[in-house]
Symmetry: D2
Subunit: 116 residues, 4 copies
């Protein structure tokens, strides 16, 4: 089973074989993540929550591909900036836990700045 | 060192302790990934490519946090749909390699539908 | 009552008084429209459809400001490219009418490529 | 020459002939504006600023169509919430003028919170 680091090495090799580092700079990678996120969102544009659940099951492979597109650019970007993405996720989860204490946030979708 | 699966278990525990599964459905998770991608992109909104490179170094921790926000929702979404995100990335890289053959795509940023 | 052209003249004057044309190029304006669109969408991130309707009424002024942010960049961008935005809207509505014939599209949220 | 109000009446008629108000609620319209903004941005994804300028001229009609897609949903959304979009733009420009005084903002792309 590949690790995230293994896949980042594959992405780097893919990019460099095509001489694409010249295009894959921070600004363009950030744009690309946003565009791929929109392609994922487009699946749910007009669907109700129930229809979205059903569609997520039915179009599972197409949705996995859209997720992968986002993840590939994100992994490449983290690699480019020498950021350990898994460590960054753990660190952010700890910050989120402090911003959203269980007793205040339970059952609420308020932003932490609006929690009482 | 945590694996992606370890972190997905942490995210699940974080979400369930707050009873947030009711909000974290496919449609809302897709929206959230897109919103977090915009927060990353905002760092580069008005900057030139050179300024963006410099900023990525200077604001490295803030940028790692934005990347983590995207990655956390993406990992949660994949987990919710029982999609193996790393396997999906490998599979998508193989598809991309077929769409962008090295000899045609080298040094070009054309979409595969426009490659000759 | 101001027309869209009047407001575009105001936007141009605002921009030029600050010497911002150097930043407001096509790429950066397209990014900015997308970022402002996310700020509008953030209002509805976790809300149900019913909550979104209620929120749209309660946060009417904040939402009008977010809409205005999108519209200002869009109007500036059209002005920069010498595109008549109102004429472009009319022309696009005619194309949409051809893609979505009433008898096929009524009551359906399918994409025109999937209509039968 | 049509006014924005004229076009909003056309959009309303287009929507209602297809019985689409059931899908065109605030949450879905905000998603749709964001998705259309991404289609505009996609034109500039990998292009340099210079290439983007050239492309904006060459692909003028396609870009006008993308702008129109954003503007159509935005005009429909404003109409749905009974917001006067042109008045909202003027009001927001006045707020922006206060946030970005000429003497401080000239030649700078800093956010107003970072201006000195």
């Amino acid at each position: 089973m590949p690790t995230l680091s293994d896949i980042q090495a594959q992405i780097r090799a893919f990019r460099d074989a095509r001489d694409w580092l010249q295009f894959h700079n921070p600004k363009n990678l950030a744009i690309s993540i946003s565009l791929e996120a929109s392609e994922l969102l487009e699946h749910f544009q007009w669907r109700s929550f129930e229809e979205s659940q059903a569609h997520a099951r039915e179009a599972r492979e197409a949705i996995a591909d859209e997720m992968a597109d986002i993840a590939i650019y994100l992994a490449e970007f983290a690699d480019l900036l020498d950021i350990d993405l898994l460590a960054a996720m753990e660190s952010k989860l700890a910050k989120n836990a402090a911003k959203y204490p269980v007793e205040k946030a339970r059952g609420s979708h308020k932003k932490y700045t609006d929690l009482e």
